[in-house]
Point group: C2
Chain length 553, copies 2
């Protein structure tokens, strides 16, 4: 797996282009007042920026060389810059500007769990800071060393721990090293006829250990469960030694230490291995597109599906603004497609009396036996019909399925053109979703207005559960006064949205974790005694604060 760009998403050479998407530039022009056809700013070159020297003490360097060998550590500036942060908007802007108050002093790549233990020992002996690094896709500030950290900082990159060690086919459990990237994991499992079924947006550039450390969810979590459900056992290198839990399906051994490690963002140790649930690759897999007359109708339909006997793999409903964005981002349609679109528009407006600005694109996924998928499709069909939906077949779903991991590239494309864009997501009970959506919408637009900027906000329901769902918001705006004020203005919008989550019964994050980005809302979400409990847990496991300090609490 090639490392991600130190200044943006994905690997060098892959980027978003609007050349084959005729509606895209006009859409952005209307939405944000920016002409994206103008040439972008040149990508930053690290050699133009002031990268601080590594402060790795010689004694620690020797100890690490002893622990893992000389080839497995580097103080190279590009490596250190690439490991300094994740991929939040704030991260990317500061990386591109060359704002590097504190880079890791060294990046190590242990080959085995034993080497991770040796790194931990060397690090603790030197009173160093240890920050585990998976794919580097965090957008919550989970990877950045504290700006004024005076101790040596070690970024522990787990990419070499990338193997599926064994599969217990009778129990449908796989024992997997934590550093494996999503595609590599699925490739190794598929060779044995299995899938893990965990597909976060970051899938191509994130790792199993990262998913666990951040309590991740995937696009098919409605069927496969969130990472906390999939992860049955863990091996974690801690200051007290190897934390090892058993791969049992359930247990009442006190508060679950497995659950404590899930979401711990490196604060309790370095995850080296997990035993995860796997399932036989489904015989049939299908994602159907639907159009709902309104977002509220879409939410109501999915709430009903969640209470029904239908079992689905994906439930996704975009709001009006995101639906319009999706249509604008389509590749140039063929003549046939244009004719079909025209016929569809005719049906929608003339026969169904849809308001095309309110209309919402939805995808619902089905997996299983051919017969099971057909039965589930009928079950869902009856429900969505009652909520006024029109099924638009497999084409849009297949397209979504192919393109689903590409969205982060659009953010770089926009940022290259001076437009900051980012995401905020939450979860709430069904009864609160509509009002939460309304509140976030008016709050975000209020923030745009207060700043005097042209902005865009869009949303989709991304995961549904028995008692509620995740709402996933994306926002972008055209900053005033050049780019200097960009982060300050971004803060205003991002904070307004997060605060609206808290004020309207949502959680501060459904699957992006806390890091430093969301930490200030934590007490609002889990109460001050809850924060104190986390602090007690971290202090107990890591009394000197060597493990990714400053994150979560």
């Amino acid at each position: 797996m090639a490392a991600m760009k130190w200044w943006g998403w994905g690997v060098e050479g892959i980027e978003f282009s609007c050349d084959d998407k005729p509606a895209f530039a006009p859409f952005i022009e209307e939405a944000l007042g920016v002409d994206v056809r103008r040439p972008p700013t040149a990508p930053a070159r690290l050699s133009d920026l002031a990268v601080p020297e590594s402060r790795l003490p010689d004694s620690l360097r020797s100890a690490l060389q002893q622990a893992i060998g000389d080839d497995s550590l580097t103080v190279d500036p590009v490596e250190r810059a690439a490991h300094a942060r994740g991929k939040s908007l704030r991260d990317l802007v500061r990386q591109r500007r060359g704002e590097f108050p504190r880079l890791p002093d060294v990046v190590v790549r242990p080959d085995s769990e034993l080497e991770v233990q040796a790194v931990m020992e060397a690090g603790l002996d030197a009173d160093a800071v240890l920050i585990p690094f998976g794919g580097g896709s965090s957008i919550s500030g989970s990877l950045e060393p504290p700006p004024h950290e005076h101790r040596p900082v070690i970024s522990v990159d787990l990419e070499r721990l990338n193997r599926v060690l064994s599969i217990d086919t009778a129990s449908r459990l796989a024992q997997v090293q934590a550093g494996v990237f999503g595609p590599d994991l699925e490739r190794q499992l598929a060779a044995r006829g299995f899938t893990c079924g965990h597909f976060p947006d970051s899938f191509t550039h994130s790792t199993l250990g990262g998913w666990i450390a951040t309590r991740s969810s995937g696009m098919q979590s409605d069927r496969y469960g969130d990472i906390c459900d999939i992860t049955r056992a863990l091996r974690v290198v801690t200051p007290a030694g190897m934390l090892v839990t058993r791969p049992v399906p359930a247990s009442s051994t006190g508060p679950s230490v497995r659950e404590m490690v899930i979401g711990s963002e490196g604060r309790l140790g370095i995850i080296t291995e997990a035993t995860i649930e796997v399932r036989a690759l489904p015989e049939r897999r299908q994602i159907l597109g639907y159009l709902f007359p309104t977002f509220q109708a879409g939410l109501a339909a999915v709430a009903e599906i969640a209470a029904s006997e239908c079992s689905v793999s994906v439930t996704r409903v975009s709001d009006g603004p995101e639906t319009r964005f999706s249509f604008a981002a389509r590749v140039r349609p063929t003549l046939l497609e244009r004719l079909q679109s025209r016929a569809l528009a005719e049906v929608l407006t003339r026969r169904l009396h849809f308001d095309t600005r309110q209309m919402c694109l939805s995808f619902i996924g089905f997996e299983g036996s051919a017969g099971g998928v057909a039965a589930q499709r009928r079950c869902v069909g009856r429900i969505v019909k009652r909520h006024g939906a029109l099924c638009i077949g497999e084409g849009p779903g297949a397209l979504y399925d192919q393109k689903k991991f590409d969205l982060p590239y659009i953010r770089d494309f926009l940022l290259d053109r001076g437009v900051p864009a980012d995401v905020s997501e939450t979860a709430a009970p069904w009864s609160r979703l509509a009002s939460l959506y309304d509140a976030v919408t008016s709050t975000a637009h209020g923030a745009f207005q207060g700043l005097g900027v042209q902005g865009y906000l869009m949303c989709h329901l991304s995961h549904s559960y028995h008692s509620g769902a995740c709402l996933y918001f994306t926002f972008a705006f055209r900053p005033t006064a050049g780019s200097e004020m960009m982060l300050e203005q971004y803060d205003v919008v991002k904070s307004a949205i997060q605060q609206a989550f808290i004020d309207n019964g949502g959680t501060l994050s459904h699957h992006h974790a806390v890091g430093t980005e969301h930490a200030r809302w934590l007490a609002d979400d889990i109460s001050a005694p809850g924060v104190a409990m986390l602090r007690g847990l971290f202090d107990g496991a890591d009394p000197k604060g060597n493990l990714n300090p400053g994150k979560i609490v």
Copy 2:
């Protein structure tokens, strides 16, 4: 809810009888060499026993009176004895013997969360020990004060916090006070058309808060989830104030404090309220009986059901010994039933060539719409047929459904006749269940043999999951040398079984918690660093060790 007997299960006046079960006494005679038709020992009378005086300091008494009023606290010996322990075999034997090294000094019954907070404050001010008490059905020693505790001990009985406060019907969430007993909870929910679906064996004598504090599972957890899945939010009185989490369906706010409270057995605070998932009462509910030729065939069938598209509410498979026990415990059959039995026996032995000593009784439950239940039944039918099962219809399942909460009464019946009986349960991956079962069987019989006692061991699979299942063992024996050695011999058998769990990939408990009874195997299960992590968590939340000290770690 009348309080349970201080010396046994259930309320006064209800007991097991074998008078209407003609096969029961001969079965016990053969299995254990004990004639249960002989008159039992007279029940213990508390007035004959030396109950230590309450050591409640006057200042704490005044503070508690101030906090909750004089009517809400008692130092009555029967109350203190009844709150001193749970209902493990060890508890019952010592209660009946009058071994009371340390009773609670006072039992308080707060009326509200505010009163629980006031009790917590008064208790902490006086450096007292606070032990929350729900139904008192613990069989893991979670309720007993440490024998040498010198501080005042307060048993906080939550029974007055028994209301369903609200139901969010759109989100299918109910906000419920923690002290509500199972039947009362279901009654309040059913009045609004809902069920929680949590039915542990202790259901009639256990509370929501107790289920949460011990990580409970219920008989229909295959459908409804374990208590950790059902519980969406918590309110907990802690030394640091009210711990309050949000009723969101999922969240990535660091390690889950909700999950930390689940299974905490009073070590982190007193649970006063939970928001739980509820579901519409099903249109149809059916439990079908099946006979498998062997236990292994039954396990294999359920493993296949767990991987299939069938969705079931109950999966239960008894082994041969438990099947024989179940048949022996039947009420006197009618003539028609006897004729049917004879016809069934004919089919089993002549046509299916079952070995009736190997044969295993199984119950599989279905819930949902009439059509859904029929479809699931067909789906299950195809699988169990491949494993050689014979469906014996609804009759046995209906009987099981009526009698399912009665088993603990049989234990008292046997104990009255000098026979100790108890249970141990575990969970393991599917691949290890058969060998774990064999190991426990040979270990327990080895223990019986080593002690020179006649003993009986039986087992059922009680809950199934994607990757494994719970095995639930019941054992009884006829102690040698009268009753004095009973607990020592019990320890030998119980320890052998628990150790076999640990040695064969099981967890120390699937749903009975740790308490003091299982604490010595905790490090074997979750590793020493896992135990240290729990200790850090508890020490952080309760630095002076006032909250149910000595439990779990």
